[in-house]
Symmetry: C2
Subunit: 334 residues, 2 copies
């Protein structure tokens, strides 16, 4: 039997591995591949998908989770800061919902520990969906199609907001993007990356980006100050983690965003002020690392970043159960 070198390497790695995780990451890099979603409760996920797409969770009947975390567009809205109820301008850039289950906490300032906790936030934020949890539950409870769905999953025809956010979070946990070219490379496929992307990854590691953008999500593992070597100039009112802790030391500390699918999640930074990946890489180099990358270096890192685009979640659009005569009517202009 003849084995080529690559086959042998993978075979040995698999043979030596005592851990599944390492077997999936034979190169032992500071970034790990994302596993595909394992759906253990498909009915809960399906209910969560409906809720994620349902604008009746907003006062206007017009804004759904998917409005600002658009799953046709990398789980973002691709605008600097989001549009909320009555066209209010949001204070911060919508982070992607893709792979968000891999973050240590949710929101830029980490004020929600879990996806479930996060899911309740926009519904009753007066600048976003501008509703209340009570009214959202009232709407759902008036719709037999939903009540039946909740009963199947929660064994109860009495709805509450905990069930709603459970279901949304369960759907969001499925929104992972495995098998990016970079993940294929991590798993041992030498041909999955261009030489330019590989050079970009080497530079990404050597110059220090990976100190913060690490783990399976290339981010989401720590809070870091925006503007380490030089202060970051911004008109944004956001002060980051300090809003949660009340500590001056946490001013401008933000959760490090994931770089997964970053090609799709423009514009960049918490204020959305970096329009392109080139601009974002240049600014990060100067402000966070005190390093001015050459154009060639920026190009290499950007080529690496574009290799982080994974398989996007593919599913049928949900068909939402209709309201009834008992359903509270949306108030878009009230």
């Amino acid at each position: 039997m003849i084995m080529n070198v690559k086959t042998i390497t993978v075979a040995v790695a698999l043979a030596l591995s005592s851990q599944g995780a390492w077997a999936d990451n034979p190169r032992n890099e500071p970034v790990q591949p994302i596993p595909a979603a394992e759906i253990t409760n498909p009915q809960l996920v399906e209910l969560g998908k409906k809720l994620f797409f349902d604008p009746r969770l907003s006062k206007s009947g017009f804004i759904s989770c998917n409005s600002c975390h658009n799953l046709s567009m990398g789980g973002t809205d691709n605008i600097k800061t989001s549009i909320g109820h009555n066209w209010q301008q949001g204070p911060i850039n919508s982070p992607t919902v893709l792979n968000s289950s891999l973050n240590m906490a949710q929101f830029w300032d980490g004020r929600a520990a879990t996806l479930k906790e996060q899911a309740g936030g926009p519904i009753d934020n007066p600048k976003e969906m501008a509703f209340t949890h009570e009214l959202a539950v009232d709407v759902l409870a008036s719709i037999p199609g939903y009540v039946n769905d909740f009963e199947v999953v929660f064994n109860s025809r009495e709805l509450n907001i905990d069930m709603v956010t459970d279901a949304i979070a369960a759907f969001e946990e499925t929104l992972v993007t495995p098998n990016s070219p970079f993940d294929q490379w991590l798993k041992g496929d030498d041909d999955a990356l261009t030489s330019q992307a590989l050079a970009g990854y080497q530079l990404f590691k050597e110059s220090g980006c990976v100190a913060c953008h690490n783990g399976p999500n290339l981010g989401g593992t720590s809070y870091q100050k925006m503007g380490v070597v030089e202060p970051y100039q911004s008109n944004s009112p956001e002060i980051g983690r300090a809003a949660v802790t009340g500590s001056d030391a946490d001013r401008f500390m933000f959760k490090v965003p994931t770089l997964r699918n970053v090609e799709l999640t423009y514009p960049y930074f918490h204020d959305g002020e970096a329009a392109t990946l080139e601009e974002a890489v240049d600014i990060m180099g100067r402000l966070q690392l005190g390093r001015v990358y050459s154009d060639e270096e920026v190009g290499n890192i950007v080529a690496f970043l574009k290799s982080l685009t994974g398989e996007q979640p593919r599913f049928e659009i949900p068909i939402l159960p209709p309201s009834t005569n008992a359903t509270p009517v949306p108030e878009p202009f009230g």
Copy 2:
């Protein structure tokens, strides 16, 4: 061989039929079943689906065709009048896009002869998507993923608005909803309708509703005055067909809306002022037919109307090709 009565009826009908249309409608009713969509150019349809869901066809980058013709919600937005750019209140209720290819013309006043002509309207309407056709084409032309799609379909890498509206219209033509319970009944299945719904259909025919709500779409075949026997009281600024013809005789003449999926397309009338089907039936009876339906009669007609909900279009959410550094940036607040 033993045949039951129903089998014989259908067999005879099929044997006697000289026309395909009649074969599909053995009861010879003034309403005809909807055929399923036949997709002859799947790549054109797929491109149209992407465009239908792409908010980059709006100035804000936030509003897509699907925002007001939401395919999770019967092809409507389920609010009285739509929300446009900068949260402007639209003047008229969003008609459903479902089965719209079966209408004689598009918009409530019929000002667009075709779906293709309609598709261009909202893009450059300052109260809706608030963009221009030129800018929309510029955006798409800056996105290689789109340019490739257009080349496959139109054999050209030069884009124009005609191609855009061709593709959107081709997608919309697939948005039909066959096999409603009523259509199953029309095709010969006696068990497809409840006795209440059947009584409602008989009353619908006998009392004159079918004079306007006829054909496969139960509407969309004529313009009629809103308020025949009694005037319709409304705060709506819309004058209907007169806005197109300039003729006083056409004031308050509107295209008769389809009743297909009417259970999903609340609220009702051009101003969205009827919140429920019961209210809509009652008002139509009084204003158009000079007839006051009893509660039982209203209930029967509503049961019939709910039998018009067909199979909703099922398809994967489109994954949109990302913008590039050359793509004009949305201006949601500019």
